[in-house]
Amino acid sequence: MIGITSYGGYIPRLRLSRMVIIQNMAWYFPVIMAVSQGEKSVANWDEDAVSMAVAAAWDCMTGQDRQRLDAVYLASTTLPFADRLNAGILAAALNAPEEGVVNADFGSCQKAGTTAAITALEALASGQKQSILVAASDQRRAKLATMQEMFIGDGAAALLMGKEDVIASYLGSHSINCDFIDHYKGCGHAYDYNWEERWVRDEGYGKIIPQAIAGFLKKTGLSIKDFARVIYPCYFSGTHKAIAKTIGADPAVVHGNLHEVCGDTGTAHSLVMLVSALEDAQPGDKLLVAGFGQGCDVLGFEATDKLAAFKGPRGIKGSLSQRVEMPNYQKFAKFRDLITADLGIRGEANPNTSLTALWRRKKMILALAGCKCRKCGTAQFPPLPVCVKPECLGKEFDEYEFADKQGSILMFTGDLLSPSVDPPAVYGMVAFDGGGRTMLDFTDCNLNQITVGMKVKMSFRRRYADQMRGFTGYFWKAVPQIEG
């Protein structure tokens, strides 16, 4: 049996109420009021498609063996590097194996997430692979006062595909690939170019998704009535409902498009919805999931008995419940670099990134791997040639991962002098449970809520974006667990 063996999800905690967008921008384009329901998820200023994918992937790999991964696939249309394997950054952040693996990016269209999933399942079916992680993530930018600004949210999902302890077995897939261009983004362009909504709804989503689902049902001999959950994207809520009718699905089994809780997360969205559906599924439930973009992918899964015992991670529901309202539209606009604010001369410093130093220290930087002294057992970060314990001076170490360790705050500040997109820059020292301590930037927190002794968890974040050279640097930050 092949199929899904674990899942994970990540929706950033910041939520922008669509009424806030309307209050700020409806004067410019009142049509946006038509889709004013609910809120959209907004990535923090230090997050991007790769960092969110890492969050979803770590969530998915909770309790799973990262050393068994023989491929990591990352699907997104908003990856930071055009030429540097983005999936390789994800794999490095997971401290996944380098030898004997085939990692790959999937991109260029919104169905890349489901395409990556099909590719993974087919690789498993071929017998060439044993354990593949598929992550999909998007953090798209839209111009102010557009329908896209209203529709899109940020998020990521991850699926671990394998052959053992399958929680949802793979029933097959069917795809249509066609050059239907509802929108496009030219290379080097910051924003999508969108064609008329009525055509996209009626000739795109409204026709291509039903056609692909029909093809899938014909190929597998299944009926739409066999499915306990039917999942497909479509941010036009009316069209989303109409598709259910076209394919003959009971509206009760159609998974909502999440417009009101996070918005459409792009390449990630089909997998985000699938993870959300798996969180509620019962053994024996069949799930159909479609991805849309220059055609349509359709996949079928059936929840197994193993699902009952599967201890779900944070997932999508957990992420959605950890929400913090973002009442400040200008802050949202600044976080997405839609407006220009001054960082001052202090913010101009822009050294390049030493790729040799990064290569030598890739485990330290990307996987937050420190070391543990073989002589005295002290866990330490950063890993240096001589043990930090006074008088030990050991020189032999084992690798020791801090990324999955919790810690507590020893000291902290909120620094208004440090150039930051979201001042004050909050940072401090953290002591890890099980030993080791270091100084870290803090993120996803409010200075006024932090205290010495508060617990923190680690989160992989964008540390800097070197606009001049096009390089994005990543490192781990501490997230104070404000809600305990």
């Binding site: 410093a349 990134t353 500040t413 020292m429």
Partner: protein, 401 residues
């Protein structure tokens, strides 16, 4: 067996510029200004100077690299000049180099000069450090500033001794109010206005919980010392001699950052002060030290340093501070010249500026701010960040006293 530096080296002359926003002077002007004063004070021909040590910190945004800026500015006669940089201990490092050179017997008369031109960068505060932290640290180290890195101490000190932040803030406020009061009496100080408790408490936040007045002045300036042996000083006609009683340096090795530390003391200062007292023969510093110039880059630094110097007991710094123990009329006046807070902090010059104040006080030449019969003066610098730093301590006193 090493015998330490006590009484082996005397100060022949010292000079110090006015610190401040010296918009119209470059580092070369500041160096000449400090040197001319020191040379006149020493009363010697400049040709007697056989070697020099030069301290500066942010070389790439002011004087430039190497010791050439000093050699060129003073037109030194092709003698040995060494540049030292050890963050905020750079000035004391230059002094240490010169003192040790004399003590070694290699030279008779040596110059130590520290200079920093910080007000040419176009923005307030210290120069940004991201390009100076090393290629690896740039990949991971938090984007700290000086105030932020020291501000963190207040949170851990508060937690360690269970003292509410409000009380720590009151003690920090008193530190700044006291230094401003002292600064009004110093014509060379950068900031010469008295401030009230309310002004300090209500100032804009820089890095929680440090407000604007919890931070020292960032200034241009230079200071220098000409040193020799007590014998040569006497042979040159000097009567009252100020000698070096102790000169210590201690550096972090990473334990604070990565092993064990309560965040409520400076490991280096605790060690360096213990060694300095031993070297100077001081057994009860609270009674024996007459005055101090400590590294009050931020008020919290001064507060904690009072304990690391073994003057205040652990956890009792705030109480002593609020009791006025360190005020100008207190038992151990601290920052009698205004400190970094008000005299200002041209980094490379600061350590020597502190020695300059001790020298003036010991010789009874401190004018309006002169203390009564000081016997031993201590200076202290702390360079870097609380989690990893360089601490230098000097103790000065009258020869054979």
């Amino acid at each position: 067996m090493a015998s330490g530096i006590r009484d082996k080296v005397a100060i022949l002359g010292m000079g110090c510029t006015r610190f401040g926003e010296r918009w119209n002077e470059g580092p070369e002007d500041l160096m000449v200004e400090a040197f001319d004063e020191a040379l006149a004070d020493a009363g010697i021909e400049r040709s007697l100077i056989q070697a020099a040590w030069f301290g500066s910190c942010f070389d790439d945004v002011n004087v430039g690299k190497s010791a050439l800026p000093l050699s060129l500015s003073l037109r030194l006669p092709n003698i040995a000049v060494t540049r030292v940089e050890n963050f905020c201990a750079s000035g004391t490092e230059a002094f240490r180099g010169a003192v040790y050179a004399v003590a070694s017997g290699a030279y008779d008369v040596v110059l130590a000069l520290g200079a920093e031109k910080l007000k040419d960068i176009g923005y307030g505060g210290l120069p940004e450090f991201s390009s100076a932290m090393g290629t690896l640290n740039y990949l991971w180290f938090p984007n700290v500033t000086a105030p932020g890195s020291f501000a963190m101490l207040a949170s851990s000190y508060s937690a360690r001794y269970n003292i509410p932040m409000d009380e720590i803030k009151r003690a920090m406020t008193h530190i700044s109010v006291k230094s401003h009061a002292n600064g009004t009496k110093n014509p060379k100080a950068h900031l010469r206005k008295a401030v009230s408790d309310d002004q300090v408490m209500n100032a804009p936040m820089i890095a929680y919980p440090l407000g604007l007045f919890d931070c020292c002045g960032v200034s241009d300036g230079a200071a220098c010392a000409i040193v020799t042996t007590p014998e040569i000083a006497k042979s040159l006609g000097k009567k009252d001699l100020v000698t070096v009683k102790a000169l210590q340096l201690a550096l972090s090795n990473g334990t604070e950052l990565a092993y064990d530390w309560d965040g409520a003391h400076f490991v280096t200062t605790t060690k360096a002060s213990t060694e300095a007292y031993k070297e100077a023969g001081v057994t009860d510093p609270r009674q024996e030290i007459s005055m101090m110039e400590v590294h009050d880059c931020f008020s919290i630094t001064e507060l904690i340093t009072m304990e690391d110097l073994h003057i205040s007991k652990r956890g009792q710094g705030p109480k002593d501070i609020l009791d006025g123990f360190y005020d100008a009329d207190g038992q151990v006046p601290c920052q009698i010249d205004g400190g970094l807070k008000c005299f200002g902090h041209p980094i490379g010059a600061s350590g020597i500026r502190m020695v300059y104040e001790m020298y003036l006080q010991l010789l009874g030449r401190a004018g309006e701010r002169q203390l009564k019969d000081p016997r031993l003066g201590l200076t202290h610098n702390l360079g870097g960040l609380p989690i990893m730093n360089v601490c230098s301590i000097a103790i000065l006193g009258k020869y054979c006293a």
